[in-house]
Amino acid sequence: MGVTAILFWILSSLALLSAIMIVVSKNPVHSVLWLILVFFAISGHYLLLNAQFLAIVNIIVYAGAIMVLFLYVLMLIDLKKIVDPQRSLWIKLVGVATGCCLLLVLIAALSKADQTTALTQTIGGNIGLVENLGKILFSEYLVPFEISSILFLSAMVGAVVIGKK
């Protein structure tokens, strides 16, 4: 097992553990913090794939910006007032069963995929470097890039409609 593989397993188990903690924690603020840890683990994965830009963006936008937004939202609502609705055990079991089904299907499919041999692209793959990504983004994928500005505009309008009195 090489260093990459060891790192991969460490990061994966960190990500999975924190993801489970997000769901399990009683306090939503704790969940947010576990989520940040997940993002860092995912960023580590991106780095293993040599996708630097994604790794950094993941930290800036998700771990930085969106988590701040989440924390603000949590501070907007009165956490004390919210009584955790008592879901019946049956519902919980069904939820777990469904999740496990999806997991099973995904594992079954992915284990047969031929991509398993190419574990990570640490060597050779350099499309994730910032300048290469820029070249692709502003030429090949220019149309989706421009269209995404409409998405941002509608989000801005939404923020004003919802947030402003």
Binding site: I36, G64, A65, L71, Y72, L129
Partner: protein, 358 residues
Amino acid sequence: MPSLENIANFIHNWLYTTFNATVALLLEFTIVAILVIGLFSVLGLVLIFMERKVSAYMQVRLGPNRVGPKGIFQTVADTLKLMVKEGMTPNNADKFLFNLAPFIVMTAAMLILAPLAFAKNFQIWDINIGVLFVTAISSVSVIGILMAGWASNNKYSLLGAMRSGAQIVSYELSAGLSIITIVVLSESLKISTIIESQANGWWIFKGHIPAIIAFVIFIIAVTAETNRAPFDLAEAESELTAGFHTEYSGMKFALFFLAEYVNIFIVCVIGATLFLGGWMPLHFGTNTTFNEMMDYIPSSLWLFGKTFFLIFVIMWFRWTFPRLRIDQLLNLEWKYLLPISMINLLLATAMAILGWHF
């Protein structure tokens, strides 16, 4: 000429000739570790002392003058005092988050030190996305602040943290945009390349008006990002006691305090690196005599000189401008700095495409 580069080279070569590769690597790690810790303690002490003395002289007083000659050991004494103080955790605080918050803030501050170049070829970690890395890690420290405010379960803390969060994230935008202006001009995110691109003149001179505008905006934005006066309404003593770290005491408080000063140091180093040429000496065109004279000054002195000049400017602000209200603060960023820096960036880009800069 004993420059930092030569010393580092010497140590490196000596290590690798004396020991085998792995041991040498480990030893190097240890040396770097000791250096970083040393830098930290020295930085904290020096900056706090400097702050006190600068404020004192601005207000025509003497400042600390009892402990040691001219009071230079005052901060050492203070640090020792903070070390042996009791670190309390309030009863109704969220214990875990309360203790984690200073950790995060401090860790973020110390991680940013890694890609900074302190002298010619003297850098812990020269990564190809250096500037981006700095932006990324600095965007995380706000989480620590919000966490501290929320976990304390104190109204002052929470209010301070909310204000601080809003302020930091807002000013991050224009700070980022002015950083990108320099990235556009030097076409690299790597700190060493950015510095080398200024060999024939610093960006603030070469970059025409866009670089100057970017520099001004950068200084304003980082002053706000480090919660310094006149943007210190997150910890406005007269209204919010101490803002998000009201409940902190002892070492945990010291960590927040230290992180604040380390952050000031870091942003000033970045400002010096991006706009003022980092460790590059001041060069004037083809005036070789002058240039060689300047080269004679060690590169580390150049960087620290520029950095401490910027730190002094930021401290100067504190005693010059009155504190802003939160609405003025957000207006300044959203209505003025953000659009200006955005248009400024486009201007710089157009200029760079046309090749108008030197």
